[in-house]
Amino acid sequence: MTRSIIVNSKRMYPLSKTLKKLLIYSLLLIFSIYVLFPLSWLIKTSLETGMLSETFGLGEFSWLPRNASVENYRELFRMGSLSFAGVAFPTYIKNSLIVGLYSSLVTLLLSVLGAYGFSRFAFQGRKLMLALMLVTQMISTVGLLLPLYRLLNLFNLIDTHFALILTYTSFSVPFCTWFLKGYFDSIPIELEEASMVDGCTRLGALRRIVFPLALPGIVATAIFAFLRSWNEYVFATTFIFTKEMKTLPIGLVGIYSQRFLNWGLVAAGGVVGVIPIVILFMFMQRYLIGGLTAGSVKG
């Protein structure tokens, strides 16, 4: 990684250097609070019990969790607990995982192939297709909901995970193809040509040469598609009716919209929904951020 505008620190006077360090660290602190505070507030709330909204009055505010316990989490995972109209939280997680994994796999396959085609070949209709892909990003969610509902209904696919997998894949593919194309553009074409001279087929060259080199971008694509599907709410709530089929965001909103709003339980659900993302992000953030920016900075 290049470090470009690190100011020529040798030429600076010690005082201004100290001031600058002070400024840097205070800004870092401010931004860390900015990011972490809402999250920590969520965690704090998730540890509080017995705070049905009606009873949580004005005088009871506190900065630290009152009656801290993990009761909310236990409640969340209790099989068939009343709070979720008979469906336990792990079911939602399982559904989200299924939909997320399948849609990111299919997205990956399609966008790697497509991006390779766009990056390496000049063919009729190439520019048009690339432009169309940008246009797909502008179609509003609501504009897609009705027609897709009709279409899926026609094939009897409403209320299946397949409906969600298909929809999420189609959202992610254009974006992922675009940024993978940028990634492939940065890999010298000579490497493949050499391997093809040595007897590789096209697909062989793609698999043996391009794929390993583009791995960071490819991993970024997969994570991106997974996150999009894991987080999506509107389509999931419109296409799925069966309780046992619903995904995590729907489950969360389900707890949230109950008659007696239990903030502790809602917050615990939010925390549980975020944990897989935190884990994924901790291991993959280098790829995700690197891949996201590498494709686009080239413009």
């Binding site: 690190i6 990003q137 609501v142 897709l148 509107v234 969360l252 975020v274 900075v297």
Partner: protein
């Protein structure tokens, strides 16, 4: 034979993507165009007269349509502008020399990948009114207000809270994109500027900003599109309320389609949104024409 196969190869690898796009993205546009010239209401399933531009004229006369269009613009542009400014500060900060830059880059980016549902809940929790939320607690204990502020019950306050949530989510995205742009600026530019006696502020405005102009435009455009289309945050936080005052076009169309079951009108709104978006994006990206050239 070999040459023929080679020529078909790009079509072969791009075909699945194209088919998917045509079915899942372009068929809906046509279908919405079609819907928008009929009167289609779920409550009268067999009665579906062709009404021409009536839905469009109705929109023209509908004050909520104009209000939600205005809100859409206020919402999308203020989120992009604020995220851009804060993101630029974050990116400049991350481009300095200190320990743990990778960690902070990841930390700043993190809100961007959170589910909107969770973001909405965190925001609701902080701005809660009935059980006293954090924001009200702070205001009351500082004696700035006597009564809890009803954050989501007045148009401008509610919009302010919604924009806050969008900005919180977006700054990290801007930060990492702009950081990548900053790191691509050759150090020689700055050396040359310094030899010519530029101050840090002059360097920033005369070298840094022009060098990352394109990435600023592209990132802003992409984020603007996402914000203009974003539905779930508003839907969970206010549902367009109080009344219809915080509806943006997306939430208004959703409400028309799935609350009033007026599909023709919702179709019209979707068509209007696409037209607005394509025009704005064309204007915003004209400046970054190199990006389009490099197709």
């Amino acid at each position: 034979m070999k040459i023929g196969k080679e020529r078909m190869f790009p079509y072969f690898v791009c075909a699945p993507t194209l088919v998917l796009m045509l079915v899942v993205d372009f068929y809906p546009i046509l279908f919405m165009l079609y819907l928008s010239v009929f009167q289609v209401k779920l409550l009268q399933p067999d009665y579906k007269p062709f009404v021409g531009f009536d839905n469009y004229l109705a929109g023209f006369r509908d004050p909520v349509f104009w209000e939600s269009t205005g809100n859409s613009f206020i919402w999308a542009f203020s989120i992009v502008l604020l995220s851009l400014v804060i993101g630029l500060v974050q990116a400049t900060l991350l481009n300095q020399d200190f320990k743990g830059r990778g960690f902070f880059r990841a930390l700043f980016f993190f809100p961007y990948i959170l589910p909107s549902v969770v973001t909405a809940m965190m925001w609701k929790l902080i701005f809660e009114q009935n059980p006293l939320g954090l924001a009200n607690h702070i205001l009351i204990s500082l004696n700035l207000v006597d009564q809890p502020v009803l954050w989501l019950n007045a148009k401008w306050v509610a919009l302010f809270v919604l924009v806050g949530a969008g900005v919180w989510k977006g700054t990290g995205f801007f930060a990492v994109m702009l950081l990548a742009g900053l790191q691509a600026i050759p150090t020689e530019f700055y050396d040359a500027g310094r030899i010519d006696g530029c101050s840090s502020i002059q360097l920033f405005f005369n070298i840094t900003i022009p060098s990352i102009k394109n990435i600023i435009l592209i990132t802003s455009t992409v984020y603007w599109i996402w914000m203009f289309n974003w539905l779930d945050l508003i839907w969970i936080l206010t549902k367009g309320g109080p009344g219809t005052s915080t509806h943006i076009l997306t939430s208004y169309a959703y409400a028309k389609a799935f609350k009033s079951w007026d599909f023709g009108y919702a179709g019209m709104l979707s068509v209007v949104m696409i037209i607005i978006m394509i025009s704005i994006v064309t204007i915003m990206l004209r400046r970054a024409s190199e990006a389009v050239e490099s197709l």
